[in-house]
Symmetry: C2
């Protein structure tokens, strides 16, 4: 409950096989899996499809290509991702609505794909353009009617602000747990719905045990909320 595992294969391995092994191991423990651009490039739609087919039914399968283009190109991309069996996609707010996210939201709606928008990132460079535009990004999330928003676990203040602004109907997904510095459970404490965890699980000696421990912790946090 509350756990999304980011499957980012290390370099020099067969990325699809690496993902399949982890999904077999983790099974239904996480609420979903997030797949990134390096994996998508490795083998295209066919590779993504093999990975998506291995995920147990009812789970989120999120393509995190951080889409940031005009609506026409993003829509073409999402149609291909839909063929791969993905059921959620991540795009950036900063491309704006008209001629960009409006078209993407329409295509996602038609295809039954959940749209998740990055409202803020946590690396230091995000302070230049993204952080000053944070409020505008939240407004765009709302306007577009996105299913979810990405807010960094390393910025619990931004998660709280996001939750207050967006209300309870928009899911908040938080990366930044573990390797990037945030304590597991801290984003959920601040109001997120899901924590996106990568290496802490995928590079563990026993990924399933770590995932189960995270889920137990998340259940305690969510029980208190």
């Amino acid at each position: 409950m509350g756990l999304i595992v980011a499957l980012d294969p290390p370099e020099g391995v067969d990325g699809v096989e690496w993902c399949l092994r982890l999904i077999r191991e983790l099974g239904s423990v996480p609420d979903g899996y997030k797949l990134g651009l390096p994996l998508a490039l490795e083998s295209g739609v066919e590779g993504l499809k093999r990975v998506a087919e291995a995920v147990p039914p009812g789970k989120l399968i999120i393509a995190d290509l951080k889409l940031a283009d005009i609506g026409y190109v993003m829509s073409l991309t999402v149609r291909r991702l839909a063929r791969a069996g993905v059921n959620a996609v991540i795009a950036h707010t900063f491309v704006g609505v008209e001629g960009a996210l409006d078209a993407l939201a329409g295509t996602c709606g038609d295809l039954g794909i959940k749209l998740v928008l990055v409202a803020l990132m946590s690396h230091p460079g995000a302070s230049r353009v993204m952080a000053p535009a944070f409020r505008e990004s939240l407004r765009i999330v709302k306007e577009v009617g996105a299913w979810g928003a990405v807010l960094p676990a390393t910025r619990p203040d931004a998660i709280r602000e996001g939750r207050e602004f967006l209300g309870s109907s928009v899911k908040i997904l938080s990366p930044g747990i573990g390797a990037q510095g945030a304590e597991p459970g801290s984003a959920l404490e601040a109001g997120a719905d899901y924590e996106i965890v990568g290496r802490l699980v995928t590079r563990a000696e026993n990924p399933r045990a770590v995932a189960e421990e995270l889920v137990r912790r998340y259940e305690r946090v969510l029980g208190r909320r």
Copy 2:
């Protein structure tokens, strides 16, 4: 001279074959080719490689995935693109430098890949976050030492401002010719180095004749400059 052809296959065709046919037809007429995310997803690195290998030597082969992630992920992506034979990549300025474009620029430098940054887009939604951050974006292009910047042909004022701010050492690449409304040659008039042209060439009855006509026009414009 001055022409980059955007190879964006329509839906429902074999994208790699479609690109190969156009490259055979256009050959050395353009200065380079731009490949997008839908094509990259269709068949992954292997498909891109088949396309890249068909491009005559010395030409730009630009992967336009509009990268907009943390440095680590963008670097992993570019390493895969390098294996495909791509020699330039497009990323967004708005992710900022530290922890993002600094790492990407380093990886591009190591691999001998040209880094091109989107400083502005021209769809209406770009007015929300991108246009107000235009100056900051230009500063980021300079700071990162990017080889080139993308500025829309539909905004000749922005091209002039970009050229003035960036000086002559940074190449300016302008999409938006034809289908998106700008007159061929108008971006070069305003100071761009390349016009990126898609459908006007690729959907023409005789793509090579159209490309040759564009190049003749560009030579006249550049000769006057």
